[in-house]
Symmetry: C2
Subunit: 272 residues, 2 copies
């Protein structure tokens, strides 16, 4: 059975400071753990009920450095969820080196002060769906390895590189390279009619404050999601996750002839 010290170590990973020092984070849930194994990600430590580990194939066990059994009560103690799952795992964070030349070749996302873990998680999930591989977060965004973000992204963080940086510097560099920066705002050109490029950075702002004034000079195209009602009360803006989904979908739709669409039960890509 798992030792008290290891339980303490796993609990310590709920703190961003410790995660950053150790370059480790925790994933929770039978499904998520299986997804990571399926994706070939090495687990530093698997903690599970006996029935979970027994259900794994022998070759799947090669994907873990260490495995510990735990009781329901132990798992409940370590869990950030109300009801614990049968398994959780400690995983190494990916490296932070980014090839900007690669980023500038496609669409990337920049998030300014997105605070809600659920919003970041779903933005990562939608980005992955639409083939966006890089998200640049301002330093004051919620941490991508926060347990709630990991939970909400549901494994999509395996496909999207999330980096934290000074967005002024990042967007400044993009400007030098003539990479367009699309700012999602309450005023601008309709996303339905703007010339949506295949390259560029989609910048989304804070849940209530929008894009910071200090980042506005970097915006080269102002985007707006038109509102189809004359009502104003109670609908001043869209949730940032919703806005992200709509913008990503619209860019994907415009550019879809050049993108690969998964053929898992989907119609082939074709023009309207």
């Amino acid at each position: 059975m798992i030792s008290k010290n290891k339980i303490k170590f796993i609990l310590s990973l709920q703190k961003k400071k410790i995660r950053d020092e150790q370059r480790l984070y925790v994933i929770e849930g039978d499904k998520l753990v299986r997804e990571y194994i399926k994706a070939g990600i090495k687990l530093q430590l698997l903690v599970s009920k006996p029935e979970f580990i027994n259900s794994l194939q022998p070759d799947q066990k090669d994907y873990m450095e260490e495995a510990e059994l735990a009781s329901y009560d132990d798992l409940k103690h370590m869990s950030t969820l109300k009801t614990p799952h049968n398994a959780l795992a400690v995983v190494r964070m990916p490296g932070t080196d980014i090839n900007l030349q690669e980023v500038y070749k496609g669409l990337a996302v920049a998030l300014d002060f997105v605070q809600d873990p659920g919003n970041l998680g779903t933005i990562i999930r939608t980005a992955a769906w639409f083939g966006i591989r890089y998200i640049f977060c301002s330093e004051n965004c919620v941490d991508v390895y926060n347990p709630k973000v990991v939970q909400a992204s549901m494994g999509a963080i395996l496909h999207v590189r999330v980096n934290y940086c000074d967005l002024r510097q990042f967007l400044g560099d993009a400007r030098k390279k003539k990479v367009p920066v699309y700012g999602t705002l309450l005023e601008g050109e309709s996303i339905y009619s703007i010339r949506a490029g295949r390259k560029g950075i989609i910048l989304l702002g804070n849940e209530s404050k929008g894009i910071s004034p200090e980042l506005m000079p970097f915006v080269t195209k102002k985007l707006v999601i038109p509102k189809f009602t004359s009502a104003t009360i109670g609908i001043e803006s869209l949730n940032v996750g919703m806005a992200a989904s709509i913008v990503f979908s619209e860019f994907a739709r415009r550019n879809r002839q050049t993108l690969t669409v998964s053929d898992r039960g989907l119609h082939p890509v074709h023009q309207e």
Copy 2:
């Protein structure tokens, strides 16, 4: 100051059963209360700190049947939030009579077993944004007057009628009237190329199970949001709120010449 009995009454409204009996629900937050007053909604009871009620205009006070002062501690006790706001109010639910002829004239939404309050709240908000005025929920969906739904919808429930009914009956009636039913699925025709009508019902399913088998026979058009990646692990589906936003946006885009777009800082409606 507010009496213990009134506090008890407000707390009792956290229960769906009591809300339904009384036909009352609670809104929390200075902003939300102000929005309701601005929209001309009568408050059955306002509970606030003195500074909140003092900040209202004299004519705004006409919108309340009753007002009670409360301390921070009282508000904290009544609140469903970690940090209470300065005001909350008890509001009467709108009537439940629906003119189906009216519903069938435009786009409406049907939600099958949507359980997460945040999802329902944001779907209401996005529906309102795109001018959708009716949402039909299966009886096992989360209650629209659940405090978390009210909070997440941020006042948008003032613009959208949310009804609970047996969806088999509702969709059966739609079928008789030849109203198309668009089912959002993992297989079907791409939302980017389907003929999106100006009338019809957009049916969205449960967070993990999708649309119930018993409702599938009512679907006349199967919609899919194409995935722009060949990756599968960790991105089997989109969150139902995200999917809703993308589908509503796409229908609005196709039909926008016939809809009124608010002119608050937006470009006029025009074709691509």
